[in-house]
């Protein structure tokens, strides 16, 4: 039943997407608006297909319908209900369903939002592009990554359940959907960028149409990355939250290019410049989401997060190649039209700062991409093995991060066009004092070392600058001083600064040690007292949990544990973390020795300010919400953003804003 329903959903989605591509494509080329307008029905059908497939899979997982091979391989009667639900994105085939469902959702949202302009070639080509992406993902489900393969379970069959690491923490239910909402969301601006290139309407119309979509996708991606990092911290149990693992890097890459785009797009909106660059950034962002999926799913790169590997690597890399070559080709073809006549007067201006920002973000992304793929290149060159890991990435990205913080302090107060030293002297003095103040504070509370203290100083400087902008905006506009892109952006900046500070502190002052304790014994470490009280064994449906009870500074007991899952031989540790605003004490069990008077080996990791990582993430998400909220409307005649006269004058009157002259 579930099997048939699921297959029907996939077939429906695929058929609708293919027919949609044919119809809309034909309509666009033959200039048949009636055909192009049909896209709304195809979009609805694609979404329906994805929805039916997702429902079928969820129903199969919840009812433990082992006739579906995916459920037989990843489900289990012993798994708690919530993790059963989350198992849909626990392995490859199911995660493609989630992808397709979200893609269908975005497609419907686009069709609804632009329902009055569906026949407009720009929207038409954008929808067509999205439909092509749908064809790919539904094609994956119909072919190499079919989630609805049948299975005939023997009597009394029970599946192994999802990977033990994936049924250990609630965050598993939220992190992948958020990440996918971000990944997939970039399809929308990408589709409009392609449409702009194809139709030749490379003015700012498509940008304004998609800027909020981009922001929303970016916000989801941000939240997804931070939840993923939180999940690592809570589940993997080594005290870390970011290991520069290929899969983590894969999610960071589109975030970096997306962030660069969110900044440089302002230059284009305002000055009509950087068109090639902006389109390239958007295309790169989308391509990197596909590359990221490839990294996660192909198994070519070693990763602790690659929970399934599969044969769809070649399909994904081919799709990546298709995206890359069609975008590069289109940009090359439209290159001349994309050239903008404007110029930037001074490096010391808002535009100049955005350019510097873009160079830094591009360098950041380049370092990550290079470090991630370098082992493959070396293996191909001389069949040697190298690893590029945490020390490399920390060393290479640290100067970039510090420079970005510095830029974050300067850029918000810079005016467009041209700034003077006098102006900066005046606007930056208070932020500078805040920066110096935070350095003094950090040294007084005991921070040492050039890099971390410099980071605290720059963080304070940048926070002062963002705070100044918010204060000015609220003084000017009241509560509206918090909403809108510029003001919400400053709140996002504050979140980024909080995360940067927490990252600097936790990675600079991490202390880690292993202790072997007998019951009643205590240990002193990094200013904390740990007392080992005893053990506790719990029998749960899917696992046996051996808890080690430990009091930290008299609180608790905290109970890190070793979980032995009934299926499979794996023993998974679950750490226990005592979080305070000041520092985190993370405990994980290394070894429980039976018979030796209950002695255990535990690992203690003490890191300052960890909680601020998650708080900063929350601030960033909140700031993004504020930024999505419509802010003060700009006067369409706003002089400096009026494109210069060589602009193609043929933008249709339906364009929603008055950017075109």
């Amino acid at each position: 039943m579930n099997l048939a329903l699921g297959r029907a959903g996939v077939t429906l989605g695929l058929a609708a997407a293919v027919l949609g591509v044919i119809t809309v494509g034909y309509g666009l080329i033959r200039k048949r608006p009636d055909l192009v307008r049909l896209s709304r029905w195809y979009a609805a059908l694609v979404f329906l297909g994805g929805f039916v497939a997702a429902c079928a899979m969820e129903s199969a997982l919840i009812t433990r319908d082992f006739t579906v091979k995916y459920v037989a391989e990843n489900g289990s009667t012993k798994t708690p209900a919530l993790y059963n639900f989350a198992t849909m994105w626990g392995a490859l085939e199911g995660s493609i369903i989630l992808w397709a469902l979200i893609l269908g959702g975005y497609l419907v949202a686009v069709v609804l939002k632009f329902r009055k302009r569906l026949a407009d070639p720009l929207v038409g080509w954008a929808v067509l592009t999205m439909l092509i992406v749908c064809v790919f993902f539904f094609g994956l489900m119909a072919g190499p990554a079919n989630p609805f393969t049948g299975f005939s379970p023997p009597v009394g069959f029970d599946g192994p359940g999802p990977n033990p690491l994936l049924q250990n923490n609630l965050l598993m239910a939220f992190h992948p959907p958020m990440l996918y909402l971000g990944y997939v969301g970039f399809t929308v601006p990408f589709a409009f960028a392609m449409a702009a290139l194809i139709t030749g309407r490379v003015g700012e119309g498509w940008l304004l149409a998609t800027r909020r979509w981009t922001l929303i996708a970016w916000g989801f991606l941000t939240v997804g990355i931070i939840l993923g990092s939180w999940w690592s911290y809570e589940v993997l149990g080594w005290g870390g939250y970011w290991a520069w693992d290929p899969v983590e890097n894969a999610s960071l890459l589109p975030w970096l290019t997306g962030t660069a785009y969110l900044h440089s797009v302002l230059v284009q909106e305002r000055r009509g410049m950087l068109r090639v660059w902006n389109i390239s950034l958007l295309c790169a962002t989308f391509a990197l989401t596909i590359l990221g999926t490839w990294i996660t799913r192909s198994g070519v790169l070693e990763s602790v997060h690659a929970f399934t590997t599969s044969s769809i690597g070649i399909a994904l890399i081919s799709f990546f190649a298709l995206i890359v070559f069609s975008t590069v080709g289109l940009i090359g073809w439209r290159g001349d039209r994309l050239r903008s006549p404007g110029r930037i007067d001074s490096p010391l201006s808002r535009e100049g700062a955005f350019l510097a920002n873009n160079v830094l973000f591009a360098a950041f992304a380049f370092v990550i991409l290079l470090g991630t793929l370098f082992p493959l290149a070396v293996e191909a060159l001389n069949n040697d093995r190298v690893s590029v890991g945490v020390p490399y990435f920390n060393r290479m990205t640290m100067p970039i991060g510090l420079t970005l913080l510095f830029l974050m302090a300067i850029a918000p107060v810079l005016p467009w066009r041209k700034a003077s030293a006098e102006l900066l002297r005046h606007r930056l003095i208070w932020p500078a004092w805040i920066g110096v103040g935070s350095m003094v504070f950090s040294v007084v509370v005991g921070a040492r070392g050039f890099i971390p203290v410099l980071a605290f100083g720059l963080g304070g400087f940048a926070a002062g600058s963002a705070g100044r902008q918010i204060a000015l905006a609220t003084r000017r506009q009241g509560w509206r001083g918090f909403v809108g892109r510029a003001n919400g952006g400053m709140v996002v900046h504050l979140g980024v600064i909080i995360i940067a500070m927490a990252f600097a502190a936790s990675s600079s002052y991490v202390r880690q040690a292993e202790f072997t304790l007998t019951p009643g014994q205590s240990a002193e470490f990094a200013g904390h007292t740990l007392v080992y009280e005893g053990q506790n064994r719990k029998q749960e449906s899917a696992k046996i949990v051996d808890q080690v009870l430990i009091r930290i500074d008299g609180t608790g007991p905290w109970a890190p544990s070793l979980n032995k899952f009934a299926n499979g031989n794996q023993t998974i540790g679950t750490p226990s973390v005592r979080s305070t605003f000041k520092d985190d004490v993370a405990l994980s069990v290394i070894d429980i020795r039976d018979g030796e008077n209950g002695s255990v080996t535990i690992r203690v990791t003490v890191q300052p300010l960890i909680m601020w990582l998650w708080i900063g993430g929350g601030v960033m998400a909140f700031g993004t919400l504020l930024a999505v909220f419509p802010g003060r409307r700009r006067n369409p005649l706003d002089a400096v953003s009026a494109p210069l006269p060589m602009e193609p004058p043929k933008e249709p009157p339906k364009e929603p804003t008055g950017v075109t002259p």
């Binding site: 030749g200 198994g299 890359v324 039209r337």
Partner: protein, 195 residues
């Protein structure tokens, strides 16, 4: 071709920057994609001890006797790292048995060393499979480290001279083992040591 083309004259005088950049970027990306598309699934790091002298180790076998590597100078020794939870190890088991059976009269020894496994499941497994060669099942962590074992099954052929002549990453086959012995001098080179 499209609605707007031909209605707009691009600014003249500039170089074909976008086109040239696109060509360069395109070429770089072709290289990258070719690289990515031609890689197989990742191979883990593997030991570098082939060609070096085999390190000595000793351990208690299931029957309670002690196996010491150094006592088997002059014989071909296959050191086999395995675990009962590893499917390829189970698959190679009959091949090792066949190899042992075919060399009953030869100066050839096989010793299996457990890798991240517990003694109880190993003795059960040994009984079930009716394996006839020695296995070391306790305190094997350091042996694995010394041989640089990364992923079982992993086996090393130690020549009578005490040199590691071959490493097998993944399962072994009886014929593959025989080939290695033959390529390195066969039974003729054996017996120069203690026996």
């Amino acid at each position: 071709m499209t609605a707007a083309s031909g209605e707009f004259v691009p600014p003249r005088g500039g170089s074909k920057l976008a086109r040239n950049a696109a060509i360069i970027v395109g070429i770089l990306l072709v290289g990258m994609i070719a690289l990515l598309a031609t890689r197989g699934t990742s191979t883990p790091i593997s030991s570098r001890i082939v060609g070096q002298a085999a390190l000595d180790f000793s351990g208690t076998t299931l029957d309670g006797s002690t196996f010491r590597m150094a006592n088997h100078r002059g014989e071909w020794v296959l050191v086999n790292f395995f675990a009962t939870w590893c499917t390829p190890c189970r698959l190679e088991n009959p091949q090792i048995q066949q190899f042992v059976d075919s060399h009953k009269a030869d100066p050839v020894k096989v010793v299996s060393v457990a890798f991240s496994d517990d003694a109880a499941s190993i003795s059960a497994y040994w009984v079930k499979e009716r394996n006839t060669w020695p296995v070391i099942s306790t305190d094997t962590g350091l042996i694995g480290l010394d041989y640089g074992v990364t992923k079982v099954p992993e086996s090393y052929m130690v020549a009578p001279s005490g040199l590691v002549v071959a490493g097998f990453f993944g399962g072994v086959t009886a014929s593959g083992l025989d080939t290695v012995i033959a390529d390195n001098g066969g039974m003729a080179v054996a017996g120069v040591g203690t026996k």
